[in-house]
């Protein structure tokens, strides 16, 4: 019984959680029994040695896997797998090169749609952001950032699509979308990023980012989409980068014409 009491007190002592009374009890046991003193000293050394156990940091893959799993669960249906497959096939079909011109018309419509949206939203009262919504948004933003880093274009498209579900994104997501717009190797992902960013054109950071990306774009469809968007926004600050783009000798002639028309209209 006394030995068991020593065991209980000793482990409490090592964890630093004994109260004054327990400390007195332990001290009394140690005084009476030299073997306990030696044991406690040896145990203390092993206990402290355990602090030195090196644990590596988990890799980013662990986060990616988790948020991928959570994202699927958040969609919340057992049919999610099937839906993803159907969506994947649909995206493959939609983004065939032959349909690039269809995307062009979609982009033109986007500019018009923005104007209509502006008219429709006048007088809208901002929604109250509850803690629950903020939590969900935080998780979704994390998911967006993870998906945008994926090597698969379909995954990155999913990332942009997730971003569209966020009512109010923070700067990190905006920067990630702008980075996608400027650097993504896939034109469809870049187009989707523009579409997503148009949700936040009232944000100065987004506008500035869109304008700054103009000279960086080499794809005709992206160039025309940005021209339409700037026209819809009547963004005068876009004139200089468009003029810079016009200096590019490789610029497609029809794009060149479109940009010249855009500049003339904005002025």
């Amino acid at each position: 019984m006394e030995h068991e009491n020593f065991e209980i007190l000793a482990i409490g002592y090592l964890r630093g959680e004994l109260n004054e009374d327990e400390i007195r009890q332990l001290e009394s046991l140690l005084e009476e029994n030299g073997e306990y003193r030696a044991t406690l000293k040896a145990l203390e050394s092993s206990w402290q040695g355990m602090d030195e156990f090196g644990t590596p940091t988990p890799s980013d893959d662990m986060d990616q896997q988790f948020f991928k799993f959570l994202g699927k669960e958040m969609e919340g249906t057992e049919h999610k797998g099937k839906v993803s497959q159907i969506l994947g096939k649909f995206l493959d079909w939609v983004f065939r090169p032959q349909l690039a011109y269809a995307m062009l018309f979609l982009a033109i419509g986007l500019g018009g749609g923005y104007l209509l949206k502006q008219n429709g939203q006048e007088g809208t009262v901002p929604a109250v952001v509850t803690t629950n919504v903020t939590d969900a948004t935080e998780v979704r933003e994390r998911l967006v950032l993870t998906l945008l880093e994926q090597p698969s274009a379909n995954k990155r498209l999913e990332g942009v699509s997730e971003a569209n579900k966020i009512a109010q994104v923070d700067e990190t997501v905006i920067y990630a979308l702008l980075k996608t717009l400027n650097n993504d190797s896939n034109v469809n992902v870049r187009l989707a990023a523009i579409e997503s960013l148009t949700n936040y054109v009232d944000n100065a950071l987004v506008r500035q980012g869109l304008i700054q990306s103009i000279p960086n774009q080499e794809s005709p469809i992206i160039q025309v989409t940005l021209a339409n968007l700037m026209l819809a926004l009547e963004e005068k600050k876009s004139i200089a980068p468009f003029k810079q783009l016009l200096q590019d000798k490789k610029l497609d002639t029809s794009v060149k014409k479109k940009i010249e028309e855009t500049i003339a209209s904005i002025i």
């Binding site: 482990i11 988990p58 948020f67 959570l70 958040m74």
Partner: protein, 184 residues
């Protein structure tokens, strides 16, 4: 937003707010990873096991009552995940232990000046890996300051006092195993 307790978050997960699991994950991922790693799993396996804990949490969310300690419930789940994994991969268990130690040894080559200390640490870790799983578990759990012995008892399915005795005896066995290795 981070003031919500783990219990409250898990109850929200249970009620359908699955996204709250992300917050729980962020709070405990490193601790769980350390738990699996220090039990002797290699880093990749440890990451997979962390994932399995959260998959299981979601799978059994309906059975979560919110009574008792969340940490105890989480580590009980983690313990079961580890047990199931090793039951399935019984043949590879020893190899995994060796791989985990080798991984650490590789890490240490750049720290020659601290070799002695590291040698001792490696020996202590070897001693740790030589202990039966239940002794490793109680030692790792008792090292977490955030966990009370009453919670450790819940994880292990025993009283607070019994958990303390188990921890003491496991530490004593660790010391003996370490001393034997130093003599060899």
């Amino acid at each position: 937003m981070h003031q919500l307790t783990d219990n409250a978050l898990m109850l929200k997960v249970k009620s359908g707010e699955v996204d709250k699991l992300g917050l729980i994950y962020e709070r405990h991922k490193k601790r769980l990873f350390g738990f699996f790693y220090n039990l002797g799993n290699d880093p990749m396996t440890s990451e997979d096991l962390v994932q399995n804990v959260f998959v299981r949490m979601l799978k059994y969310k309906k059975s979560y009552t919110g009574e008792g300690s969340f940490m105890a419930w989480m580590f009980r789940t983690a313990r079961n995940v580890n047990y199931d994994f090793h039951k399935k991969n019984k043949k590879n268990t020893n190899q995994t232990d060796v791989a985990a130690i080798a991984y650490k040894l590789e890490d240490e080559t750049s720290e020659l000046e601290r070799m002695d200390k590291k040698d001792t640490m490696v020996q202590l870790e070897r001693a740790m890996h030589s202990l039966p799983m239940e002794k490793r578990e109680v030692l790792i759990l008792s090292k977490y300051k955030a966990m009370k012995f009453s919670e450790i008892g819940e994880v292990l399915g025993c009283s607070e006092g019994a958990a303390k005795v188990k921890a003491h005896r496991a530490l004593n066995d660790l010391r003996s195993a370490f001393e034997k290795m130093q003599i060899q």
